[in-house]
């Protein structure tokens, strides 16, 4: 079923769990639909007026359909209680501790994704709309001691593999949605809110961020890039970016 549905690669720790649910639900859908269709086609042929000129006033007298409804209720209840609600609780409540995780800020604006890494001090600097210039699109305050070493990247999000990621997601203008299809990650960025998103990438490779909420005329091209790298490559990347900063 998984192959049949053509879901994208599972590049995060929880992707398989989401896909399992999708597969289960599609089995339920398939069984119900095929059942209906078999019954449907049978009745349409068996009871056509030319072979069944006198209709039956009573029709079906058995309670089979009620039992089937109960079965549907039970299956739905199991999927809901045993899979869906617990899976969601883990996604939104069980944030991993920040030490040991990669913590980044992702800032959405029409029609760009901005990424800020805290730098060696592990603290994020202040951002202020009044500091926005053509070279400082997100208003990063470099005079803030916490912000001096912050690494800012446009459109590229680099992350180490097999380490939990916490993204603090904000937007500067309208609603956007931070989606990474292959990692089954999606979260709307809501103006006025900072929303944490966490997951654990499990496959080294290149992926894409797609904006998943209509955000204006450039919505279709609001694309970002995610590179999942080994821990060593990630450290090298941070060091290189840090060196660039101190060179400026």
């Amino acid at each position: 079923m998984l192959e049949l549905l053509g879901l994208p690669p599972q590049a995060s720790a929880h992707a398989a769990q989401i896909d399992d649910m999708i597969v289960m639900l599609h089995w339920l859908m398939l069984v119900l639909f095929v059942g209906w269709i078999i019954f449907f086609v049978y009745t349409l042929i068996r009871f056509r007026a030319s072979v069944h000129p006198k209709a039956d006033y009573q029709g079906v007298t058995s309670h089979t359909s009620s039992y089937l409804d109960v079965v549907v209720v039970v299956v739905e209840a199991v999927i809901l209680l045993a899979f869906a609600i617990p899976a969601w609780a883990v996604r939104v409540n069980a944030l991993p501790p920040e030490e040991g995780a990669t913590v980044v800020h992702v800032i959405a604006k029409q029609f760009e994704w901005h990424v800020v890494y805290p730098g060696p001090d592990g603290r994020f600097g202040r951002r202020d709309a009044s500091l926005i210039t053509s070279t400082n699109a997100i208003g990063l305050d470099r005079s803030d001691p916490n912000g001096a070493d912050d690494i800012h990247s446009l459109a590229y999000l680099n992350l180490p593999v097999d380490t939990p990621v916490i993204v603090y997601l904000t937007t500067m203008d309208v609603i956007h949605s931070f989606g990474i299809t292959s990692m089954r990650v999606k979260q709307d960025a809501i103006p006025g809110m900072e929303i944490p998103v966490w997951w654990e990438p499990t496959m080294v490779g290149d992926y894409e961020i797609n904006c998943s909420q209509l955000c204006g005329l450039g919505h279709y091209r609001m694309r970002g890039f995610v590179t999942i790298m080994t821990q060593a490559d990630y450290q090298a990347f941070l060091a290189e970016e840090g060196a660039k900063l101190s060179a400026d």
């Binding site: 549905l5 769990q17 989401i18 896909d19 999708i22 639900l25 599609h26 339920l28 859908m29 639909f33 209906w36 019954f39 449907f40 009745t43 349409l44 009871f47 056509r48 069944h52 000129p53 209709a55 039956d56 006033y57 029709g59 079906v60 359909s65 089937l68 409804d69 809901l80 869906a84 609600i85 899976a87 969601w88 996604r91 939104v92 029409q110 709309a129 009044s130 926005i132 210039t133 208003g139 203008d173 949605s177 989606g179 299809t181 999606k186 809501i190 103006p191 006025g192 894409e208 797609n210 904006c211 998943s212 209509l214 204006g216 005329l217 450039g218 919505h219 279709y220 091209r221 694309r223």
Partner: protein, 597 residues
């Protein structure tokens, strides 16, 4: 005051209308007759459906062949929208927003409720007219004005609204002037629906023929009654929200605007802040989810009538169907936030809305199952109306079933905002509701005109539409499962994960254009049959419900003798009866159910 009017109207109707002579304007334009208003609603709504569908046929060009000049039509779209015939993303977003708005608020609902409800409901309950005929007229004209404002918005500076039919703030608040027109148009449309809803409720409760108890009402009437309650209770929050958004746009209030937002150029927006974009979403979906049932319940009502009539046996499980319908109505008010799982919703709230969403699937399954089971043991005829009604069942089935993964928050991590969502709700509304509406048109056309529509043209229309619709919408599930987003101007061609499935957009687009082609058969048939269709008697389908007791077309005041209901609505093939249908108002004949009034 209303009661007086009602009583007056009844008395008025009982005196007969033949003595009055009405001017052309009074008879056909500012008519207060429910049948004329119903036909006005239906024809206006069908024109809007055609227009809304045409917008999509243009959009589907760009989805299939992004950046290629649109043949022929491209030259007429204007330099600001499609320079050199190549559609701009701004224009694509306008078309998208207006396609949704027009199809829902100006097409399907006015046809299903304003058209069918107005024409059929008073006849089915044996009433001479609606309880408030004047209000009914105002309802149509408010709808008409709303439609004019929406159409005119295309000529506003910056074009029509472009923030989706959902108009999420802040995008909609900072959008071009078309959004203001959209909001004003919505206020008219909502007012129209509210006037109509009050009328439907009062009419159904007050003007039923003697003997027509609630459990003898045709299922169609039940569906319209529940729909009217949904409109009455769900629309006011959106009307308020539309006015608030209008204030945000025009008066500088901040109902939906938090502090600290900047424009694309980095300039701070002049809003005091303190508002919440999520408030708009809550108010919008508090209407728009019940609205889904406003779209689907009248369709179920139509299908139930046609299935009972053409299987020649009573609906199976009528009581359970009515119970499920009422339950659906209640539940539809507590599922709205399942549209908002990705807005940062916590476990408790998402658990509540997931649970209500799973619960609401049950009555839908019960109704659908009952309709399937009703076929068993029938003596099934296949006129065009029945083909459309039967096609509704599996199509609505697909639409309903694909709602299951979307109703759970965890699978939404994958499906949110993808083409899977588009496929899902279009299966509910297009091959679902719209096929049912076609069924209703073929079924009640002889009541309105005294003639039947051409069968052969009808069959061509059916098979063409049925197949084409599946070609349009089935590929959307494939595209959506791969994770490709909706509302992308270029169909997603920039994304790596879209590359394997994007070819399906071409298939889907050819489906849409083919679907357009097959509507020509319907449009021709609809107008041609007014004069040239085969003339038939008052009850060509040998049906049981009261509307078939009235002359075709029914005169002003509807019935030549006031009808009385003596039995349930679907007394087909009653054992011992001389014919295979026993009409509800028939004086003699078997009466298997003891009279209870």
């Amino acid at each position: 005051m209303e009661n007086v009017t009602t009583a007056e109207q009844i008395a008025h109707a009982e005196h007969g209308h033949e003595e009055h002579t009405l001017s052309f304007l009074q008879s056909y334009v500012f008519s207060q007759d429910h049948k004329v208003i119903g036909i006005q609603y239906a024809i206006t709504a069908m024109l809007f459906l055609l227009f809304g569908f045409s917008l999509m046929m243009v959009m589907r060009w760009n989805l299939a062949f992004p950046g290629a000049p649109i043949p022929v039509i491209g030259n007429f779209l204007g330099q600001a929208n499609a320079p050199g015939g190549i559609m701009l993303p701004e224009f694509y977003n306008q078309l998208g927003a207006m396609h949704g708005t027009i199809m829902v608020f100006l097409g399907v609902v006015p046809l299903a409720v304003g058209g069918f409800g107005n024409f059929v409901l008073p006849l089915q309950i044996g009433a001479p007219d609606m309880a408030f005929p004047k209000l009914n007229m105002f309802s149509y004209w408010a709808f008409f004005l709303g439609g004019v404002v929406m159409l005119a918005s295309f000529f506003a500076p910056g074009g029509a609204a472009n923030s989706g039919w959902t108009s999420y703030a802040p995008l909609s608040v900072i959008a071009t002037q078309g959004q203001t027109w959209w909001l004003v148009g919505m206020v008219f449309l909502i007012t129209s629906s509210l006037l109509g809803a009050i009328n439907f409720i009062v009419t159904t409760i007050q003007l039923r023929a003697p003997g027509l108890g609630f459990m003898r009402l045709p299922f169609f009437v039940w569906a319209q009654l529940v729909t009217a309650f949904l409109l009455l209770l769900a629309f006011p929050p959106l009307e308020a929200a539309a006015v608030l958004q209008l204030m945000d746009r025009l008066a500088g209030t901040s109902f939906f605007m938090p502090a600290g937002l900047v424009t694309t150029a980095g300039v701070p927006l002049e809003y005091s802040g303190g508002g919440s974009p999520l408030l708009w979403q809550h108010l919008f979906w508090f209407l728009a989810h019940p609205e889904v049932y406003v779209l689907i319940l009248p369709a179920m009502g139509i299908v139930a009538e046609i299935i009972a009539n053409n299987t020649r046996r009573p609906l199976w499980g009528y009581g359970a169907m009515v119970g499920s319908l009422v339950f659906l109505g209640f539940m539809s008010f507590v599922v709205w936030a399942h549209h908002m799982f990705m807005t940062g919703m916590g476990t408790t709230m998402s658990a509540f809305f997931q649970t209500t969403t799973m619960i609401i699937s049950i009555p839908s399954v019960v109704i659908l199952s009952a309709l399937f089971i009703s076929l068993y043991g029938g003596s099934i005829r296949y006129p065009v109306s029945m083909l459309f009604a039967l096609a509704f069942l599996p199509m609505f089935g697909i639409g309903g079933l694909t709602g299951l993964p979307l109703g759970l928050s965890a699978p939404d991590l994958h499906f949110h905002d993808t083409y899977y969502v588009i496929g899902h709700f279009h299966y509910v509304v297009a091959p679902g509701t719209i096929l049912a509406l076609f069924a209703g048109i073929y079924h009640w056309y002889p009541k309105a005109t005294g003639r039947v529509m051409n069968e052969l043209l009808g069959r061509i229309h059916f098979w063409g539409s049925f197949i084409a619709m599946n070609v349009v919408f089935m590929p959307m599930f494939i595209i959506g499962l791969a994770g490709v987003n909706r509302r992308l101007y270029d169909g997603g061609m920039q994304y790596a994960h879209a590359q394997d499935v994007i070819g399906w957009n071409v298939v889907s687009s050819y489906g849409a254009w083919t679907l357009g082609f097959f509507q020509i058969f319907f449009i021709f048939n609809f107008f041609w049959s007014i004069r040239h269709g085969k003339q038939v008697d008052d009850n060509p389908w040998k049906a049981t419900t009261l509307e078939w007791q009235a002359p075709s077309p029914p005169p002003h005041g509807n019935f030549t003798t006031p009808p009385e209901a003596r039995r349930g609505p679907y007394e087909y093939s009653v054992p011992g009866a001389s014919t295979d249908f026993t009409m509800q108002g028939q004086a003699s004949g078997p009466d298997p159910e003891p009279a209870k009034v």
